[in-house]
């Protein structure tokens, strides 16, 4: 079956990419200036014995090739190493961070898809009139502004009205679940809004150009000649086909989302995977940085695969 061979090809490409990223991840950090043991021991004048012991413990006395194999083997067992900063396993910290990132990213993305697709369709429909231009201009503006800047502007604008920091209020007196949820929701508003706004511009522009392409197709002309209502033409003829590239592009962008949240989480100190990456950079916590890079790569590769398969599934012209 050709469908299975396509699937096998995409899956093997994804696995290869993760392998390449892993290898890159290993060797990038090997070229670091200085000795990993010196970073780890953090003792000004560690005795040679201690250094040798640490080196043995972390397998640094082996050849780079052996170290690489060791790294791959440990990774396959889910071991991502120990954080320099708090001496705890990286994996636990990353899993916890991911659970914090997902709700924020999910809510922001859903809002962005709804507003973005609606704006894109209307902007294509009203192309050439002032209404269309306004829609497009807004989309371009939000596509162009730096994410961290938008987050800061929202912070200034809503200072005092909404919490600016973290995920929950440590001084919350009411201990009930409802109050906690409301508190979480209030903390969520600004980061999720920033994410939604930066994504919305991109989605609107994609939808608009996809709509413009389908609106120029002959079957749209035929539908018009049959005397169908413009509303029906847009919804049943043009949008259906325009959603094809839009769906795959949105699926693609979902993978990069987690990475894109780095800036937003940094501004709002949202304890997610992006903030973990930022802190790892600030503290030069290399195992943590390696771990977050791997997780982010994995999410991008996964969503790429999903986008590929989705596209093949949605477009009957691509025979599986």
């Amino acid at each position: 079956m050709r469908g299975w061979s396509y699937l096998a090809k995409r899956v093997s490409f994804s696995l290869m990419t993760i392998f390449v990223a892993t290898t890159l991840n290993f060797f990038l950090f090997r070229v670091l200036p200085g000795d990993a043991v010196r970073n780890l021991s953090r003792v000004p004048h560690a005795s040679p014995d201690l250094k040798a012991q640490l080196r043995r413990q972390f397998g640094l006395d082996k050849s780079p090739w052996e170290q690489y194999l060791l790294y791959l083997r440990e990774l396959a067992h889910g071991n991502m190493g120990i954080s320099f900063a708090d001496q705890k396993p990286v994996r636990g910290a990353i899993v916890e961070a991911l659970w914090n990132t997902i709700p924020m990213v999910l809510i922001g993305t859903i809002v962005a898809i709804v507003i973005g697709v609606a704006t894109g369709v209307l902007a294509a429909w009203w192309r050439g009139s002032w209404k269309g231009s306004i829609g497009t201009s807004f989309a371009i503006f939000f596509y162009a502004v730096p994410t961290q800047w938008l987050a800061l502007v929202l912070l200034i604008a809503f200072a005092g009205l909404l919490p600016s920091h973290g995920m929950s209020d440590p001084y919350l007196l009411d201990d009930s679940t409802g109050a906690k949820l409301i508190d979480l929701g209030r903390h969520l508003v600004l980061p999720a809004t920033t994410l939604a706004l930066t994504l919305y511009g991109e989605y609107a522009l994609i939808t608009r150009s996809a709509m413009l392409e389908t609106l120029g197709e002959d079957y749209v002309l035929t539908a018009r000649a049959k005397g169908l209502l413009p509303r029906v033409i847009v919804r049943r003829y043009a949008l259906r086909n325009a959603m094809l590239p839009v769906t795959t592009l949105i699926a693609l962008s979902l993978g990069y989302l987690v990475a894109g949240a780095i800036l937003i989480e940094t501004v709002f100190s949202w304890p997610g995977i992006g903030y973990a990456a930022y802190q790892a950079v600030v503290e030069r916590d290399y195992p943590m940085l390696q771990g977050t890079f791997l997780v982010l790569t994995f999410s991008v590769v996964l969503f790429n695969l999903i986008a590929d398969l989705l596209y093949a599934r949605l477009d009957p012209r691509i025979t599986l």
Partner: protein, 310 residues
């Protein structure tokens, strides 16, 4: 000889007619030109020195300082001009590196095809999928911050899409009759690429590079914000980062943050307008869309090539 000169001339003048003939692209050129002029003459034009304290911490805007002062009492207008110089330098340099690397790989892969194509595009595919910002963070963290490193890191993020685009275009150009004729007449690979392929893909490469400048400035601001920029260079990204770190938000000093981000956004919009107009003019599928979707009237042709009878 004269024929080649003529062919090249039409390609350049076509590009110019698109860039200057479309309203949005012209607006983009004027906007980008404004920032480039400010950047080039920043040392002469800036009203105050960028390392001289002229007032209090986060002094609000006044007649003498229309955009207020930063946390060190330095005039924001002067800082923004210097920041523009640095940001645009990084943006253009990274886009040029990406153009040379991505364009080169794209031409090689598209022109030679076969195993060269397979190997180069496989590498490109991997780099395309690996998330760029985290990769840049890792590399910048490992290499240490400097302007040169920053340019290379950003170029590393940008070259992949250029390579893909150029490869696809070169593959189609390679099969055109005049290229085949040149080959039949005994022209070498170098000559065919330089004389026949490059002029054809030129406009596309230019459009892509302009869009790359926008991405590069955006990426620079992100990397600078994460503390991975050159610590000694003032860029727009750096201005935003410092304002964030030095509590401009709680001080309510919007003037330390808002203008820098707007500058980034305006430059990106300008590049987007220019690049998009050229790409639109190159895309034959959009030319087919000769019906205005709203009224279903026949639109005037987008270019002289559009021979639609009303």
């Amino acid at each position: 000889m004269s024929r080649r000169a003529k062919a090249k001339g039409t390609s350049t003048s076509w590009l110019w007619s698109v860039v200057w003939g479309t309203t949005t692209a012209r607006a983009g050129v004027l906007l980008l030109g404004f920032f480039v002029v400010l950047a080039l003459f920043s040392p002469l034009l800036r009203p105050y020195s960028i390392d001289q304290q002229v007032g209090g911490v986060y002094d609000p805007p006044s007649w003498a300082h229309p955009l207020g002062l930063d946390d060190g009492g330095i005039d924001m207008v002067s800082l923004l001009m210097e920041g523009g110089r640095m940001s645009l330098t990084v943006g253009f340099a990274a886009a040029l590196v990406a153009m040379v690397v991505g364009g080169g790989i794209g031409v090689l892969a598209g022109y030679f095809g076969g195993w060269v194509d397979t190997v180069l595009m496989r590498i490109t595919d991997y780099f395309l999928v690996i998330p760029s910002l985290p990769l840049a963070i890792v590399i910048a963290a490992v290499w240490g911050p400097s302007l040169g490193h920053l340019i290379i890191v950003i170029a590393l993020l940008l070259w992949t899409s250029t390579a893909r685009l150029i490869r696809a275009e070169v593959r189609s150009v390679r099969e055109r009759v005049y290229v085949k004729r040149a080959r039949a007449l005994g022209a070498g690979h170098t000559r065919i690429v330089l004389r026949h392929v490059l002029p054809q893909i030129g406009p596309l490469l230019v459009a892509n590079t302009v869009l790359s400048v926008a991405s590069a400035i955006f990426d620079e601001s992100a990397l600078a914000f994460l503390g991975l920029g050159d610590p000694t260079a003032v860029t727009w990204g750096k201005i935003i980062e410092l304002a964030f770190l030095r509590t401009a938000v709680s001080a309510g000093a919007w003037w330390a943050i808002v203008p820098a981000g707007l500058c980034v956004a305006l430059v990106i919009v300008a590049c987007f307008w220019i690049g998009q107009s050229v790409e639109d003019a190159l895309n034959p599928r959009l030319k087919v869309a000769h019906l205005s979707p709203r009224t279903f009237d026949v639109r005037r042709g987008r270019s002289e090539a559009d021979e639609v009878t009303p």
